[in-house]
């Protein structure tokens, strides 16, 4: 018998009683996600510049970030916990973020580099020929033109991170993952908590994904209009 007979599958009164906690955990979820994506994006940009400047480094960068992407998240926590320390809130936050960021790098670096490499050679040559400095070509021409591909990578990274944040519940963080873990840990399984945690994290992923899609379209009006 999995569920206690007397309790319903979903208990609305629990949601009402714990509304504040749910909100706090949602904010925490968004914070963990936002910081991971922000830091990940910055690091990926640095790595992408490295890979574009010295193409020989690209393979190493994708191999290393590829391995980071493949290691199970639980193993990363177990590995990082003794190094960073999870006895303090800061330690737990940093451990969680290191793991989350490491999952964004492969996707982001690959999309930034691919996006920029896909900029037609003629466009780049014309920009140089007009008298842009190489750094200006990157910022004003190549990055804007790579934006659709970069945004596509950011969307995948976002959805991935939102899912992974729930796992950091094992470190005492976890945002909405807290409810999922707590629901399972109770002596009698408490489905309401699990449903709330799962549903809200899926909804969050959906909203952010849609938001990025719309942001991407707003940033690249030129890509939508006619192609003759």
């Amino acid at each position: 018998m999995l569920f206690a007979q007397e309790s319903p599958l979903f208990d609305w009164s629990w949601v009402q009683r714990n509304f504040d906690t749910i909100w706090e955990r949602t904010v925490e979820h968004m914070t963990l996600t936002g910081v991971a994506l922000g830091v990940g994006l910055l690091m990926a940009m640095g790595l992408a510049v490295l890979a574009l400047r010295w193409p020989a480094t690209y393979e190493s960068i994708t191999s290393i970030t590829g391995i980071m992407y493949t290691i199970p998240s639980l193993a990363v926590f177990a590995f990082l916990a003794p190094i960073v320390g999870i006895s303090t809130p800061t330690g737990r936050f940093v451990t969680a973020e290191v793991a989350l960021v490491s999952y964004t790098l492969l996707i982001l670096v690959r999309n930034i580099v691919t996006g920029i490499r896909n900029v037609p050679a003629g466009t780049t040559e014309a920009a140089l020929g007009m008298g842009y400095r190489p750094s200006q070509v990157l910022r004003r021409i190549q990055v804007p033109l790579a934006m659709p591909v970069i945004i596509a990578g950011l969307r995948i990274a976002t959805v991935t991170v939102i899912g992974l944040v729930t796992v950091t519940a094992l470190l005492g963080k976890g945002g909405l993952g807290f409810f999922i873990l707590d629901g399972f840990r109770r002596s009698i399984l408490f489905p309401t908590e699990i449903i709330v945690g799962v549903t809200l994290s899926v909804v969050l992923a959906g909203i952010l994904d849609l938001g990025l899609l719309l942001l991407g379209r707003a940033m690249t009006p030129w890509s939508a209009r006619g192609t003759t």
Binding site: G122, T123, E125, G129, M130, G131, R133, S223, T227
Partner: protein, 367 residues
Amino acid sequence: MTDRHMIRLNDVTKVFPGAETAAVDRLSLEIGQGEFVALVGPSGCGKTTTLKMINRIIEPTMGTIEVDGRDAMSVPAHELRRSIGYVIQQIGLFPHRTIRQNIATVPALVGWDRDRIEARVEELTVLVGLESSLLDRFPAELSGGQQQRVGVARALAADPPVLLMDEPFGAVDPIVRGRLQSEFKDLQSRLGKTVVFVTHDIDEALFLGDRVAILNTGGKVEQFDTAEEILSSPANRFVEEFLGGERGLKRLALLPVGGLGLERGPMVERSASADEARRVMAEYDVDWFGVLDGTSLSGWASESDLARGEVAGLELRPLESTVSTRSSLREALDVVVTGHNRLALVVDDGVFMGVLDVEAIAREITG
């Protein structure tokens, strides 16, 4: 064109990394101010490499390049390039910027104020024959020909003294290409820019260039002269072969009808008698005659038409077979051989100038 050199290449050599032979080997070339020079040659002759060394898109391995009196290597590449217009075959418009922003690229880069840029964009739009309604579109919304006009406008935006063009009309269809070539030639003659133009199309080179440099492998200059001179006396076998067949016809394409003395032809006034008409036909050994009304040519009639009466009463046939003094001799020849009058009628804006027959044209071919 003055004697002053705008571009001077001195023993310029380019060896690409890993290559065994030089793409361009000790090339020296002097291009005068306001001159339109076409670099032409088979693929692999180093013409594009040569062009791209002038604005340092490709850095020379050895040798010196002077542009507008200064050593190109003595200034930062981006500064050098801002004073050299650049048009490439891929056009390379910035897809994320409007046509207006594309044209304004260099003026914005060198810090012109907004009003000056706006005025310049409007001016260039007219100059290159674009509709101003296109200015707020994105490049992907324009046809290939329109895009290349934008490419030319963008290159001219900051009024650089030098223009480098790498097969600029290579990607547009032949009809549009012909029109762009004529328009650009006309534009250049008004602007007086120094232009270096790379093409693999000898006809394009001969049509556009004040002088044409024919390059062989390794950037070896086989001949550097005017189109007329190259066609009438090719320097060697390579040039001869590169010019291909129909050299005489190609030469005719460069010569205007106006350069020849024109005959009056079998023409009579409207008031002339039938006998007078028969006399001019006999004189020119033809079976038709043209009817003049003052300075304009009204039409023509054939010998058999005269059976029906005097010249004044005849119903005239409409004129075909006309060219202007600005037409090339090649066009005139085409008219002579395809029309049934065996003569090209030369008419400028309605004023009859004379006629041209195949013998007169042939005299030009043989020089």
